[in-house]
Point group: C2
Chain length 455, copies 2
């Protein structure tokens, strides 16, 4: 496709690809990566399902969402499909522990899987079809995100909301079997519902963005499925999404190499539920902590990218959110607990005397020559010896991805913290064997607490 | 309030005003204008309740909206409050016949009344409280609209969607009794859901904007009522609504003179369901038509603003939407039918032989000296005489507003066309006496067809 024709055929070209894609077109590594993303997403939703933002949204909306069509992950309540999508997407995004498409900083799974899981409970499909729709949804949202990045986020758009709605629309549209025309309408209806401001980061409203993207994407697909018409050029028209919210869009990022490259292969998973810039520090500390007990350590000296001090120099964090932005806390829990999981970033852990004491033993040197996913950690032992760990790429980066086993461990940690009455092992198995499942809604049924499943 | 403090206190200042406003603060003319707006809105919703966009949205969403909490205006179905708001707001906007706040081109009532009517069915309040909430909702959306106009619309934002969500949030927030802090959160949650692209005008998606604004505004207010936090500065922050969607906002338009001037007093109502630029032509033709039968007329010569030819030179309209943009059709129905109401802008009327023949007798001269709400209509009679009507300001303009009786006639016309089984006279009475009503939900119950009320 030439550049000129690409400009004229962005929404239609993407819609055609989505409508015509077949499961047999999807390479094996892409299928496997989709399962990794789903496992990570489901774990995050289990871990976040009791977050205050989720509790309050549920308190506000439950009375308007009575038909009990779909499960809330990790909980016993059931809601209609649209509101269940909103709540599940919020749960999965609440802990800031979900996946990241680094080029756009989209959290791809929250809106897409958030929309799909309740939808397939109501209209059952095979695991293959669920995975296929999920892969295409991620493809659509990340490509559209690529086309407007980085200007879009810089201008103030929270991209998981604004692009996530396309992903949810594309994924649900695929399950509905929309043809190219109706898929183009669905994308247009997503475009005109795109919302979410960067100003909201740091408040509960941030999490709402993933939720509304999931719900609005379903609405877009459902409407298009009933011939509710929108512009055919919702993305590229002069008053369409990319120009109005984008600045200088690059449409070749949407239509170039469709079906040849897959954005889900660029997806990353956090090993620790805290700021990404702290991850290489934690890596180094956990490594050294295997061999050195905290009581033998005198000082811990960090050499880090300047962003660490700018964002996370916080010696006395008072609660979970502050602990997630405290490099001293990260060092302390890595040595004192030998872990940096969900339970290490709570108010209770932040106030533990041993952890608080250890935070005072951390010295930090910034060095602009050190990359963001890099760190050097040196221990000065009480007996005078020193040990150093050099981390070139943090765990969870594209260069050093989380293994499947890492993802399983993360899943168990999250499930135990947020939904201890769910059977984590059965869920893990269900995700890995999803391709062979006839009824993908089994996933949702397994993701509620034992007692809730009866109701 | 000084300019400097206004900049820092935009969302909070507006929220405080909304939270603290009392019914006794509302001047009598403002109360009356609110009833005029509601009457016009309700009529438009009755007229539009069978529009294709409404039918298709309902077909797509009804199965997810089962709890029968609220009426759909003019119809027998009932949906949950959120989806009923979406549908009712769409119905009222579908015919392009609803009210217009000229400075912003917001259609103020669709999102605000669309949200309020289903909400008060579920949580009954007095007519006074409904009117008060409606007035405040219109105030919030139009002031926020003023602050970003005209750049916001010019950039590609469909302002009824993007600002309507604030109106719905403010109005429902008032009914919920939100204090200033929670009202500020509601406005922030509205800000971060604001959406709607100008690209969608001309497709069904345009009407969706009013619907999602109504629904999302309710969601914002409900969430804030349960302490779901957002930024306190959702409108004015550097990455908030006004800068991200606005360009060069003027915040004094939001906080200046609050409680002293009322935006609803700037509201206008269309006398004819077609492009505003055609209204003075219709005025002149209807006036002349009272005294001259169509068969005596040789030619009709128009002197009009150039915009008329640019937008509406269409001698052979094929359907309703094209008839609404045909100046020749407007002239023809004014003389042949002596009317230019809902039934004059249908495919059936466009193909009537007498109307089609008359369209060929229209000559048009453009004149840049003629204003947009002005026109000169000259009849050249078959017997050689000429008669001229000069229209300085179209009916429905701020200079020549629709009278209460005009609005009643428009209401009856709309009700007869879209919902003939509703009792128009009882509804008109109910609106005019709304202040004295203990249970405002009576309005919704009267707005459904006789049979539907039983269900």
């Amino acid at each position: 496709m030439t550049a000129a024709s690409a400009r004229d055929d962005v929404t239609a070209g993407l819609a055609r690809f989505l409508a015509e894609s077949r499961w047999s077109d999807i390479p094996q590594p892409v299928r496997h990566e989709a399962k990794r993303a789903l496992l990570n997403w489901l774990g995050c939703a289990l871990g976040g399902c009791r977050d205050q933002a989720v509790e309050r949204a549920l308190a506000a909306l439950a009375e308007f969402a009575l038909p009990r069509q779909a499960a809330l992950i990790g909980r016993s309540e059931r809601l209609d499909v649209l509101n269940a999508a909103l709540i599940n997407a919020m749960s999965s995004n609440a802990l800031d522990y979900d996946d990241t498409h680094l080029r756009t900083v989209i959290h791809p799974s929250a809106p897409v899987a958030g929309a799909l899981l309740p939808f397939v409970e109501h209209r059952p499909v095979s695991g293959e079809r669920l995975l296929h729709a999920f892969i295409l949804g991620v493809e659509a949202e990340c490509r559209i995100g690529n086309s407007v990045s980085p200007g879009h986020y810089d201008h103030g758009w929270h991209i998981t909301g604004t692009c996530g709605v396309f992903g949810a629309a594309a994924a649900v549209g695929k399950l509905l079997g929309l043809d190219a025309q109706r898929m183009a309408w669905a994308l247009g209806l997503a475009a005109t519902q795109a919302s979410g401001l960067v100003e909201m980061l740091g408040s509960m409203a941030k999490t709402l963005h993933a939720g509304t993207a999931a719900r609005n994407g379903i609405v877009a697909a459902l409407l298009a499925g009933k011939n509710f018409e929108s512009s055919d050029r919702g993305i590229e028209a002069p008053r369409g999404f990319a120009h109005v919210l984008g600045g200088k869009p690059d449409f070749s990022a949407i239509t170039g190499g469709l079906g040849e490259t897959w954005e889900i292969m660029q997806n990353t998973y956090k090993p620790y539920p805290c700021g990404v810039v702290l991850h290489p520090v934690i890596d180094g500390c956990l490594e050294l902590g295997k061999h050195h007990a905290p009581e033998e350590i005198g000082r811990v000296v960090l050499k880090v990218n300047p962003l660490v001090l700018a964002r996370a120099d916080r010696r006395e964090p008072r609660d979970g959110p502050e602990a997630k932005l405290s490099v001293q806390h990260c060092v302390a829990v890595a040595f004192v607990h030998g872990a940096a999981g969900v339970r290490q970033f709570t108010a209770a852990c932040a106030s533990e005397p041993a952890v608080a004491a250890f935070r005072n033993r951390v010295d930090i040197e910034e060095d602009a020559a050190i990359a963001r996913d890099e760190a050097m950690v040196t221990l000065r032992m009480k007996d005078g010896r020193t040990f150093t760990a050099q981390v070139s790429h943090a765990r969870g980066s594209l260069e050093r991805p989380m293994s499947d086993a890492d993802l399983e461990a993360k899943f168990r940690d999250l499930a135990a913290a947020g939904a201890p009455r769910c059977n984590a092992n059965r869920l893990i198995k269900a995700v890995w064997s999803l391709e062979k499942t006839r009824d993908a809604s089994a996933l949702a049924r397994l993701a509620v607490p034992a007692k809730g499943r009866i109701r």
